[in-house]
Each structure stands twice: as structure tokens, then as C-alpha cells.
Amino acid sequence: MKNAFILLCGLGLAACQNDFLDLKPQSQPNVDNFYQTANDFGNAVNGAYDALQSSNQYGGDFNTLIEARGDNVLDNDPSSNAGLRYNIDRFIEPTTNTILRDTWGSLYTGINRCNLILDKIDAVAMDARLKARYKGEAQFIRALSYFNLVRLWGKVPLVLQAGTTTDARSYVRNEVTEVYAAIEKDLTDAAANLPASYTGADIGRATSGAAKGLLGKVYVTEKKYAQAVPVLREVITSGTYRLLPNVADVFNVANKNNAEIVFAVKFRKGVGGSLTEGHGLWYGTNIGDNIEPTLRAAYPAGDKRLPLTVQIPVPSNVNVVPRKFYDEFSATNDVGNDFPVLRYADVLLLYAEALNEVEYQAAGEAFQRLNEVRTRAGVATYTASQLATKEAFRTAVINERRLELALENDRWFDLVRTGTAVDALKVTNITVPPYRVVYPIPQSEIDTYNNPTAFPQNQGY
């Protein structure tokens, strides 16, 4: 029958040519027939979250870029992958380092997914609350991605609408202030669009609390402490979040989505196949301890957080892993800890820091919030006489962040925003050239734009 059809076509019926030649993929959706229903956008939003799971982001490379770069973690493997990670730890990474390139790319991949959603969703009719939520989620993920980009690289292209690859050639490196303004706007909008909480299989999506908490963190990073105080206070007084009595429980893989988690990137081990949803051991090693001794030494005696940094063996495996991210391997050889992007202890410490920066108050609310975290860790609280000045309090709260949030991808950013990176790394015998507080723009991007005026390399590289 079909052959007869082709024979007829051969006799000059040009019309059937188009049918014969116009084959659309049957096993894969394409952009031309997507972004049309509420369900499409639901899938698109989930796809945007997926970018955060990437091994180039929270799935792995952030641990190198943000934690190993700081003074908590030591990469002691110069030979693996020709020193790919080691070089970052030692501040000798070349501009061609592929982690830099891939992380940059992964962050923009996530941003593009958000941009496509935000560009197209207004034209589609759907439940107004659902539409607001989808927009809020996309805004939150986009803001988080830009927040990471701007902290890692400084001036980066600010892309808020999906463009073609041709459009992308005319992007420039926007000012840091422009990027932060966009982040603030996205998070403000997201806080308005997102619900305070979810139920069932929606738990884990970005909430208004997550948007506000992240906005507070953005403000603190920008040193806009007066603006940080009210949004962080809202998160604290909302009553949605609390410190778990036992700090180890926060990280227990059997206790995901607990009351201390404000936003986490979620994983699941054992899915296997090409769509793996797990990750490798975070900070796992089989060639010796990779936690800086200075970190462990910084914990006061009896600190319940110290054991979380201790490397413990994984069953049937030669690797050890810090207890904070302990999980047993699945049959498909991965683990499934969630990565805590923002948790209540972080919010409390940010809040304490912001209050102190606005105005030091002996034994004020800042002390109370800081001490909540210390009490839970089982160590002595700070008194006003111990921290008698704004500077002393600042040092204490930053140190507390190191102890509380060790290995959670905060330390390097904390060092940079407080201007203490060079001094802190000196303690671990690493000399940091001052220009290296931001990473070099990946060489691939410098090459692609090939325009030193609109798209220059960071100074010093």
C-alpha cells in the first residue's frame, strides 16, 4: 500500500513529498509543540530544578569551587584528572579549567530553562495560583543561579529572556550591581508568588520563606544589612522553621525535608540509567583525610558539630566520607543526600550578623540568635563581655558560620564578602593572589566572544 503510494508520488504528485519528508520526532518532544499547557509548564519547572542537581552545581562541583577553595577542605590529589580540582584548591587553576567552564554553562542552562518558562507562561491560560507558583519557582531558581554566578565570577551577562544563539553573541558582562538588582527583583517577586509551604509530593519546591531567606542572604552579601533584617525576621517569625534539637538529624538521609531545611537541592539514590538522580560521595576520599585540620581545631571541646566533619568509612567501599554527608551506596553505585542550600541555622546567623552590622547591641537580639545556634551545638553561649564590640561580634558570627555551615558551600563566599579570604588561607599555608577572589571567566567564553572590550577576562588572569 505504502509502496503504491510512493509509486504514485513518483508520478509527480509533489504534494505527498512533504508528508514523506516531514518526519517529527515521535519519542521526544520538541520546543515547537511544548510550552502549551499547564502540564507542560509543570514539567518545564521541574526541568529547571533539575539544573541545580547537576554535578557541575550542587551535585558536586560547588564543593570544589566554594568549599575546597576556602580553608575547610583540602584537595590532596594532584594527579587525578591532571589536578583539575587540586588546582582550584591551590589557586593555580588555569582559565581552561573545565570545572569553571562546565559550572558556568550549567548555571546558564538553568537560567535559560527559567527564561523560557517566564517568556512563554503569560500567553497560556491556566489556574492563576498555579501560574503564579510556576513563575515564582522559575524566578527563585533564576535568582539562585545568578547569585552563584555573580559571587563566583563578578560581572556576568545578565540574560532575562531566552535568546537565540545568535543573540547570545552580543551579550556583554553586566555590572555586578545590575545583576544583584535583577536577583533582588526576582526574589521579591518569587516571595509574592510562592506559597509558604507545600504538601505531599510538592514538598521541596521553593517556598516564599526560601525566597525571603535567600533574599536576606543576598542583602547581607551586598552589605545591605538594613534591608536584610526585615526579610530575615519574616522567615524567623513565620514559625515555619526551627532548629532540630540534634544537629546531626538535620543531615540524616532518613530525615529529609525536616523543619530546619528552608531550601535544599534534592537527590535520590538508586534511580540508575541515564536519568540518575543521585550523586557521588561529597568530599569522599580514599587517599587520606581531606578536611583541613584547622577546621577541626576551630571547634570548641564538646561541639556536636565536630563529629559531622569526621571522615567515616562507607560500607563495602574503600572511600571515607564526612559524617554530615554520610549515605550508603545504592545498587547503582550512587548516594542520595539532599544538599542544604539554605537552612534555619543559616538564617539565624545571617540575621544575627545583619542586626550587629546595623547596630551593635550588647546582649541584644543578635546575641540571642547566635546563641540559639551555639546552644543547639552543645557549646557555651557568648556573653556581651566576650564580644564587646561590633567587630568582635562580627568575627564570632563569621566563625560560627564556619563551624555550623562547614562543607555546605558557604565558607568561601563568607571569606570573600568579609574581605578575609587572603588572611584565612594563609593559615593553611596557601597564598592567595588578591585577584583570585573571583574566578577567571572560562577560556571557552573568552574565546567565543573574542571581544576584550565587551567581554574581558577578569583582572589578573
Partner: protein
């Protein structure tokens, strides 16, 4: 066609078949007469001794004597004599009333009258104006090879056939006139009996590892070599342009045997033999290994504790340094004292075996004026030289051609079942690569424990050692099977509409089913995890249905001295692939290995399609065979092309001048023939992704709630509606000449091919959300010379025929991407870089340059170095002269996988019934990136090492040969960075085949009622001359990736095969 005409056709066929049977029986009774004569070479006039003369349709025959004379007693009714002689075209002569029949036979090797298959037709060799390489059945028969392409090695100038893997049934790399494409594939188009095959089946089996893919299987190996009549390779664009958008990598036309008019011939062809690896790597034994391990540990320890001593106990080391890599494992200590009788395993011996190979083909062919048929059955079984690997084939072929008046119909069916016992040979130890494991695992470990279980002590050894799995366990216990069922066939009907004008309808299909099942049992540990593993398995099923309908009109006419022929056609082809895959794990035990026993963790099905509509036309004209011109065009429309570029047009022209026919050359005696040729044409490469022009979405799921997988989708590429074929414009100029009454022939070709609109994944700003976009951009030039020289010499009964070919190809990138930036990709490891840059060949190695080792501290101090370099470490060259060593800016081009030239040399000697054939293949000037050296030539003492490691630097006073770095478990000076240390010359000369045969004389055959009986022995790959230290200098871990070809990261060694064969016909 109506039912009635079908019935009539069948009636005629039946009559035809009966007529055929009648002819078979016709030799029962006659009167006797006699005939005699002399057989000579048509070109030289030399007598041809040993020619078989046979009365057609009977067993009656004779053989010519030294003077070429014969005499034969004819049975009554004898009408025709058949003269045949090896290397000559058989000739059938009507006896008529003659008593003397003298015959001149034409040498087949440079037979200008020989018929050559071209696209959609045949042509006389004399009339061909394009560049076509041709190989006949006798040139490839009887070699112990899995598939015919292996037999093409070294046979045709400009056709480089590289056997990159020795695994039975593994794909070869075939390149016609270089590498024109960077990303769209460089395999030629294979056309089997008129059916252009889809390249997609090559990758149907998928891989067990995405980073280190398995070598693809060779789907061509379903074709029984004994069934092949001829193979033609269309080399220039003008010859290939009739295949339009699929012609730019050259076209291989394969024609299978058909029945011939005459008595039924039953043939049995067989060989049996055994295979062994052509080479074993020269590695350290356990004692040498232990010494190196010890030295490496000490150097690592002393680097960290300069006050330490090599004699320090592990307790002191533990306290002083702590790094496990500095501790001496108790397992090596006994070896250091030279204690005898310790385990000393040669792991290569453990995974290699002497493996049998056998092939049997039984065929029956015959026919009469109306019906011709050919039926064959084949069984082929090749066990691999690596344990637990092999390939088996059961195939049959049946074809019938029926002619009835103006109508001819026929069909050709080739069902095959093939079974592959696969083994993971490619990839390093970390990818379960059996070869990589076997060369790296230390010889101090036994294969088995005393209780008979596999020894896995090298997995999780500790002491900072890399975990290595037991290669014997991986090879033997991992089950990886592939069943391939194929039905390749076509049918045609041809009707002669008027004199010289005929219409042909041809339908064909290539249906392939692949089923791959993989099971990794609990008895094979997982790296770094001790104890029984959790079994995993997968099952993949791929179905390909490819169908083709062709309508062609042929016209030919001779008016006086003007000869004209024309072809017009319309064809449609569609390929549909459906696949399904399931992955399972958590099998409770290894008793049941099908997936129902485990928990299915992933699964899916997929459909892929492409379609191609074509219009084609060709006109050929010649004046008295002296001036020849030809022009062709094909228009291809394909679903693969973007909506804005759906149709492509591929024209070509060619012209030839048979100069030797001109009167001014007629008087020359030394020149027998001379034809000048020139051609120009456009071809394309449509091997682009099926849906590459669209922005596709893929599942990108996320986890929510209580670990719930929540489906997500995200675009994975940007859209490009202008996406189209790659385009090659090739100019070919050449001549065919023969001298001294055709005793010597020479063909020379020069070609210049410009490939443009190359498909490249062009880097785009990642801020677009994508890292690359598929665009038609970039140009590559290939140009080269091809020489083929042939000779035939007869000295009485001794004959020598030889052909030699040599080809050069220069590959040069002309344009890339919008910025023209080089494309730099990494191979099996990050530092193994390949650069594709304008002005240079595709995919050159781009690495550090090593200039020996630093012999002492003074040398270290005097030269730029890495921060950790110590004496005994590599001296990297400061290429950019900035006085520091930087692994990004001090890289340079360090070689190319492309050879400077390739050659082949085929020799055949015949004396009476004996024949001796020798084929030599040579590839010169290519380099190999031997990444296996990363592990087994790094002096770390972590895994086993090449024996050359004994030449290592040990101290300033004992610096070794100045090339090998010092032993050190924890490398200083970045010695492991990929550099010229890992790059080797891959030039080689290989004796590909030596074959010695003896054919029984005709007189004896007649008594045995046989028409042919030949016994022979063959040695395949007996000798290879090369400096390459790996297994096979033809290796390429990713043969289908032009950007990073030439890497050796573990490969299946080539077998050396000795076989004994027999050809008999009745």
C-alpha cells in the same frame, strides 16, 4: 501487475526450469568426435599451460600442455567449449563444425573489456571515465576473515581499511580518500545488490559504558564472503554523485553471485584453522614489579620525609607521613628478597587463548537461457583470541532470475542469523576493559584463590593502590550476548518497452533485529567495593526496517559510431528504528540472569525515522569508444534536512579520451592502451542527526516530596532550520595505461576534494543556555595521488602476477566556526587533547612535549619546570618560551593519526597446480596516542609496567636511559600529564596474507567427477613490522570520531590465523 500476468510468468518460469533440467541431463548419449587447439594470452600471445578446457554441460575436459595445446574427445551433442584459467576471464566458444579451436584468453587483471558495476548499472572498464576501484571474488576468497571488508585491506589505492579491533565481528574503519567530515561520519555508503544500507545499524548495539564506548559491531559481517562476485569502490565524486547526498565518503558497491547459464555446479568451500594473538605486550614479571613498587613507595615517602630512610618500617612511615601510598605492602616484601616460587601470573596468558575458526559454504548454481539460480548456505564460527568472545554466523542466500520475452523478474534473499559473544575490550581498567585490566593488574596476584574462587585481592588492596578487578573474572563471568537477525533482500521486474528502452522496478528491504543481553553477576566485584556485588543487567532490542523502492528507465542506442545511453530514476527510501531497553539490578542471586529475576530500574522505548526521496538522471555518450563524456545529477530530499533546506542537488560530469586508439599512436608497440580521464562532481553526506534541526526536549527529572521522582523536561539543543547535508566537490584527473602488450599496467589518479558546509557543533556562548549548536560551517580539503601498478609475467608454466598500490592523502582544515577558533577536544582523559585547526589535518594530538628526564638537581634548577619537579621527573618543553611550564599554554601539536601514505602489494605465483599468494599492507607516518601508557608506563608501581620501565632514572649516578622517569607512587613534576611520552609512531608493514594452494589436475578431476578441487593453507596476519609497543598500530578507540581518532585506551588484539582450506566443485 495483474494476477493473470503473474500466472503466466510462473508458467514460463516453470517451463524455463524444466528446460534447465533437460539441459542438465542432455549428456547421456552421443556420437564421438575430437577437437584440438592452442590456448594463448590474448595480449602477449604467450601459450597458457594448464588451462582447463571443458565441454559445456559435461564433466568431459582436458588441460593444456606446456605449449598451450589440448586435445579433447567430444561426446555427441557437444556444442560449446569452456576455457578457464586462473586470472583470466573464462571464455565460451561454439565448436560448430571445426576440429581445431584456437582460443585467446583475456587477462582478467587488466582486462579492459571487463565489466564494472557502477551506480545503477554496469559499464565496460574501457568506457569508464571516473575513478573506480574493483576487486573480484578470487581476490578475496578463501581468507579466514569475518567479513569481506577485512579482505579489502591493501587491495585498492586510496581505500584505507583499518582493522582497529581484533574482536570477532567488530567494525572496521574504511576510509575512501581520507577524512572529509569532522562530525557526520566518514564511513562509505555500502550498496549491496543495489540496496544502499543505512549506517545507523552500526551503532545499534549501544555500549556498556558511555565514556569508553564499545567498538561498534560490523553489520557487514552478515554477508558471506563466498557469496560475493565483485566489489567496486566509487572513489571520485563523479562516480559517487549518482548516490547524491550519501556519496561523499565514497560508495562501496557489492554484487553477489548469481547463477550462470550452464550445468549445475555444486561447490563446497571450507577452511578450519586456529588463531592466536599477533602480539603480547612485554611487561614486568612479579619480581621486577615488586622492586618497582617498592622503589615507588620509597620515593613517595622520601619526597614527604626527606629525613626518612628507605628502610623505615611502616610504623615509622605512618607516624612520619601517614599517606597510605608511602607504606610498603606486605604482599610485595617476599619478592624483594628474591624468594623463589612466589605467584608470578602472566595475566595476558590468562585472558588470551588459541581459538578455532571455521567456515563452510555449500552452494548450488546453474540455469538456462530463461532461469538462473544460486542458492548457498554458510556456517561460520570464530572464537575470539580473548576468552569468552566469539562470533557465529548462519546464513543462506537464494536468488533466481527469470527472463520471459521482454519481461525479466528476479529476487535475491539473504537471511542471516549472527551471534556475538561480546567482551568489553575497549577502555581502561576503570571501565571494566578486560585488556586494560589484564595489562595493569600486578603479576603478584593469583587468578584463583585456593578454594577455586576468583582472587580479588587487587580490588581494595589498600596502601594507596588503585583497585583493579580480576580480568579473568570480568571476561569469563560477565555475560554480554548479541543476537542479530537480518533479512536483506530485493526483487525486481524489468520490461523492455522498446528497442534500447527498458523500465525497471526494484524494491528492497534490509530488516535487522538486534537483541543484546548483558549480565554482570555477583561474583564479579565492583571496583573499590569488596565482596559480592549487586548484580546488574540490561536488555536492548533494536529493530530496523529499511525499505527502498526504485523506478528507473534505461535507454541505450548506437547510431553509427555514436553510442548513447541514458538513465532516469525516482527512488524513495525510509528507515524506521524502534528500540527498547530495560535495566535491572538487585538480582537475589546469579541463578536466573534474565531481568525478571531482578528489579527493573530503568526502561524505555524509542522510535527514530528518516526518509529520502530522490530523482536521478545520467547521460553517457561516446564516439567510437574514443571520446567519452558522462553527466549525472541526483536530487535528494530528506527528513533530516532542516525545513529551510529540504532538497539538495548533486551534479557531476566526466570525460575520457582513449588516446591509444588515435592513429598517431597506433604504430607504437610499447603502448598497448592509454586513456586520459577527468571528472568533477558534487556529493553530500547526509549522516546528520535525524531531528537535528529541531530544538528537542529531554527528560530532566527532579526529586520532590518523600523521594518521589517527578518528571521534568528541558530543551537540550537549540533549533537550526537551515541544517543540511555536508557537501563535497571533487576534481579527479587520471590515466589508465598499459604497456608491452598489456604485460604492465599503470593507473594514476590525482584528486582534490573540498568538503564544505561541514556539520560542526559550533561553540556558542554558554549564556545562551547551550554550549554548542549544530551548524553547517567549516571546510576541509583532501587531496592526494593514487598509483596502481600491475604486471603479469609468464615463464613457461610459471606465472607471476603482481599488483602494487600506493596512495597519499593530505588532509587540511580550511575553515571552522565563525571565529575560526581551533576545536580542541579531550579523548579518554582530560589532558589527552586533540586539536582541529585551520591549515592542519583534523584531530592532531595536542599535548605537552617531553625532552627526557632531569638527570640531577642542577638540570632541574636550570630549566623551567613545574612546582613539584624533582630529578628523575620529565623535562617538559617550555614551548611558548615564557620560562614556566603551563599545561595549557605549553601544549603543541605532537602528531596525527593520518598516515603520510599507505600501500599494498599483492603477489600471486602459479606453477602447474600450485599457487602462492602474498599480500602486504603498509601504513606509514601515522602516530598513535597510546593512553594505556598512562597506567602501565608511568613508573608508579601501582599497576604492572612495560619492561622498558627497567630503564628508569634511579639516581643522578644511575639515570637510566634518560627517557624513563623515576619510580614514584605519588608523582611529582606532573609526569602523568599527557605528552609525547604517550605518543608513538604507528607506522607498520604487515604481511597480511600468505596462502599456498594446490589444485588437482583436470585429468584426475574427471576421474573424480569433479570440476575443481583445491587444497590450501593460509596464514593471516603472520608478521607485522612496527615500532609500536601496543597491540595493534591500527588502533583507534573512537574510530567514528574524527576529532579524536588514534587513541589506544585498551583494544582487542588482532589474531594471527593459520588455516587449512578446501574448495571443491562438482
Amino acid at each position: 501487475m495483474s494476477i493473470f500476468s503473474c500466472k503466466r510468468l510462473l508458467d514460463r518460469a516453470r517451463q524455463g526450469a524444466l528446460a534447465g533440467l533437460f539441459v542438465l541431463m542432455a549428456h547421456l548419449s552421443y556420437a564421438q568426435t575430437s577437437v584440438s587447439g592452442r590456448v594463448t594470452d590474448a595480449a602477449t600471445g604467450d601459450a597458457l599451460a594448464g588451462t582447463t578446457v571443458q565441454v559445456k554441460g559435461t564433466n568431459v575436459g582436458a588441460t593444456t600442455d606446456a605449449g598451450g595445446r589440448y586435445q579433447i574427445t567430444l561426446p555427441s551433442g557437444a556444442r560449446t567449449l569452456v576455457f578457464s584459467f586462473i586470472g583470466y576471464q573464462p571464455n565460451e566458444v561454439e565448436i560448430g563444425n571445426r576440429t581445431v579451436v584456437d582460443v585467446r584468453l583475456t587477462n582478467a587483471d587488466n582486462a579492459l573489456g571487463e565489466v564494472v558495476v557502477v551506480g545503477y548499472g554496469v559499464q565496460n572498464r574501457r568506457d569508464i571515465t571516473t575513478s573506480i576501484g574493483s576487486v573480484k571474488a578470487r581476490d578475496i576468497a578463501n581468507q579466514p576473515v569475518t567479513s569481506f571488508d577485512q579482505a579489502l585491506v591493501g587491495k585498492i589505492a586510496g581505500v584505507q581499511v583499518a582493522q582497529t579491533s581484533g574482536a570477532p565481528g567488530a567494525a572496521l574503519s574504511v576510509r575512501v580518500r581520507g577524512t572529509g567530515s569532522i562530525s557526520a561520519g566518514n564511513d562509505p555508503l555500502y550498496v549491496i545488490d543495489g540496496i544502499p544500507l543505512s549506517r545507523d545499524t552500526k551503532f545499534a548495539t549501544g555500549s556498556t559504558n558511555t565514556q569508553f564506548p564499545d567498538n561498534p559491531i560490523n553489520v557487514l559481517s552478515t554477508i558471506n564472503t563466498d557469496d560475493i562476485e565483485s566489489i567496486e569502490v566509487l572513489k571520485d565524486a563523479s562516480a559517487a554523485a549518482i548516490y547524491g547526498s550519501r556519496g561523499s565518503n565514497g560508495v562501496v558497491l557489492l554484487t553477489t553471485k548469481h547463477g550462470k547459464e550452464g550445468r549445475t555446479t555444486v561447490s563446497y568451500d571450507t577452511y578450519v584453522g586456529f588463531q592466536q594473538v599477533t602480539k603480547k605486550l612485554d611487561l614486568l614479571n612479579a619480581y621486577e614489579y615488586a622492586q618497582l613498587n617498592y622503589e615507588g613507595k620509597n620515593n613517595a615517602y622520601l619526597d614527604r620525609n626527606p629525613n626518612g630512610r628507605p628502610t623505615d618500617s611502616n610504623e615509622i612511615r605512618q607516624r612520619g607521613v601517614g599517606a597510605p601510598s608511602t607504606l610498603i605492602p606486605p604482599q610485595v616484601t617476599p619478592y624483594l628478597s628474591g624468594q623463589s616460587g612466589l605467584t608470578n601470573t602472566d595475566w595476558q596468558d590468562e585472558i588470551f587463548q588459541t581459538a578455532p575458526i571455521q567456515n563452510h559454504t555449500l552452494s548450488i548454481a546453474g540455469g538456462n537461457a530463461n532461469v538462473r539460480y544460486y542458492v548457498s548456505g554458510n556456517y561460520f564460527d570464530q572464537r575470539g583470541v580473548v576468552i569468552n568472545s566469539g562470533y557465529k554466523r548462519y546464513s543462506t542466500r537464494a536468488n533466481v532470475d527469470i527472463k520471459s520475452g521482454k519481461l525479466s523478474v528476479g529476487f535475491n534473499l539473504n537471511p542471516t542469523f549472527a551471534h556475538h559473544d561480546l567482551i568489553k575490550a575497549e577502555g581502561p581498567y576503570l571501565a571494566d576493559g578486560v585488556i586494560g585490566l589484564a595489562v595493569q593488574i600486578a603479576p603478584i596476584w593469583p587468578v584463583y584463590n585456593p578454594d577455586g574462587t576468583y582472587n580479588f585481592d587487587a580490588n581494595g588492596w589498600g596502601f594507596g593502590a588503585t583497585s583493579i578487578l580480576n580480568p579473568v573474572a570480568v571476561a569469563r563471568e560477565v555475560s554480554d550476548k548479541l543476537d542479530h537477525l537480518r533479512l536483506l533482500g530485493n526483487a525486481y521486474a524489468q520490461y523492455d518497452i522498446a528497442k534500447g528502452l527498458s523500465y525497471r522496478l526494484s524494491v528492497g528491504s534490509d530488516i535487522n533485529n538486534f537483541q543484546r543481553t548483558y549480565y554482570r553477576p555477583s561474583t564479579v566485584e565492583i571496583r573499590d567495593r569488596k565482596g559480592p556485588s549487586v548484580p546488574t543487567g540490561f536488555a536492548r532490542n533494536q529493530n530496523f526496517i529499511n525499505w527502498l523502492v526504485e523506478n528507473t528507465l534505461n535507454y541505450s542506442r548506437t547510431i553509427g559510431l555514436h553510442n548513447l545511453s541514458a538513465l532516469a530514476g525516482f527512488t524513495a527510501q525510509k528507515d524506521r528504528r524502534t528500540s527498547a531497553e530495560l535495566t535491572a539490578t538487585n538480582f537475589p542471586n546469579d541463578l536466573v540472569q534474565t531481568l525478571n529475576a531482578g528489579q527493573v530500574t530503568a526502561g524505555g522505548t524509542d522510535i527514530q525515522e528518516w526518509s529520502l526521496l530522490s530523482y536521478l538522471g545520467r547521460v553517457q555518450y561516446d564516439y567510437n569508444g574514443r571520446y567519452l563524456v558522462s553527466a549525472a545529477i541526483r536530487a535528494d530530499g530528506s527528513s533530516r534536512f532542516g525545513a529551510a533546506n529540504r532538497w539538495g542537488y548533486f551534479p557531476s560530469v566526466s570525460a575520457g579520451w582513449n588516446v591509444s586508439q588515435e592513429s598517431f599512436l597506433q604504430s607504437q608497440t610499447w603502448l598497448s592502451d592509454l586513456k586520459l580521464r577527468a571528472s568533477y562532481g558534487l556529493t553530500g553526506n547526509f549522516q546528520i542527526p535525524n531531528y537535528g534541526s529541531l530544538s528537542l526536549l529531554e527528560y530532566r527529572n527532579y526529586i520532590l516530596g518523600a523521594d518521589v521522582i517527578t518528571s521534568g523536561l528541558a530543551p537540550v539543543n537549540s533549533a537550526n532550520d537551515k541544517l543540511k547535508w555536508e557537501k563535497t566537490a571533487m576534481l579527479d584527473i587520471g590515466f589508465d595505461a598499459s604497456f608491452f602488450r598489456n604485460r604492465l599496467s599503470l593507473t594514476v589518479d590525482y584528486y582534490n576534494a573540498n568538503t564544505s558546509d561541514l556539520l560542526l557543533n559550533v561553540p556558542v556562548p554558554r549564556a545562551s543556555g547551550f554550549s554548542t549548536e549544530l551548524q553547517n560551517i567549516g571546510k576541509v580539503n583532501n587531496r592526494g595521488f593514487e598509483f596502481s601498478l600491475g604486471t603479469r609475467q609468464t615463464f613457461g608454466q610459471f606465472q607471476w602476477t603482481a599488483s602494487a598500490n600506493l596512495a597519499t592523502n593530505r588532509n587540511r582544515v580550511i575553515a571552522l566556526g565563525p571565529s575560526g577558533d581551533p576545536i580542541i577536544v579531550s579523548g579518554g582523559v582530560a589532558g589527552a587533547q586533540f586539536i582541529t585547526q585551520i591549515g592542519s589535518p583534523i584531530g592532531q594530538y595536542y599535548t605537552m612535549l617531553v625532552d627526557g628526564v632531569f638527570r640531577n638537581q642542577a638540570e632541574v634548577d636550570a630549566y623551567p619546570r613545574t612546582a613539584t619537579t624533582k630529578p628523575g621527573d620529565f623535562r617538559f618543553v617550555d614551548v611558548n618560551g615564557d620560562k614556566r611550564i603551563d599545561f595549557s599554554s605549553d601544549r603543541t601539536v605532537t602528531g596525527s593519526y593520518f598516515p603520510k601514505y599507505t600501500f599494498g602489494f599483492v603477489n600471486n605465483f602459479a606453477y602447474r597446480g600450485f599457487d602462492l599468494g602474498v599480500t602486504v599492507q603498509g601504513v606509514q607516518g601515522n602516530k598513535i596516542m597510546n593512553l594505556i601508557r598512562r597506567y602501565i608506563y608511568n613508573e608508579e608501581g601501582n599497576g604492572n609496567q612495560f619492561r622498558g620501565a627497567l630503564n628508569r632514572w634511579q639516581s643522578p649516578d644511575n639515570p637510566g636511559d634518560g627517557q624513563h622517569n623515576r619510580a614514584n607512587r605519588l608523582q611529582t613534576g606532573s609526569n602523568g600529564e599527557i605528552s609525547t611520552w604517550h605518543i608513538e609512531d604507528g607506522s607498520f608493514v604487515r604481511i597480511r596474507t600468505i596462502s599456498l594452494g594446490y589444485a588437482l589436475p583436470t585429468t584426475l578431476l574427471q576421474k573424480l567427477r569433479m570440476t575443481r578441487a583445491r587444497l590450501y593453507v593460509t596464514a593471516q596476519n603472520p608478521f607485522t613490522f612496527t615500532n609500536y609497543i601496543g597491540y595493534n598500530p591500527e588502533v583507534s578507540s573512537r574510530p567514528d570520531n574524527a576529532l579524536s581518532a588514534g587513541e589506544d585506551y585498551g583494544t582487542y588484539p588482532l589474531p594471527r590465523t593459520m588455516s587449512l582450506g578446501l574448495n571443491v566443485s562438482f
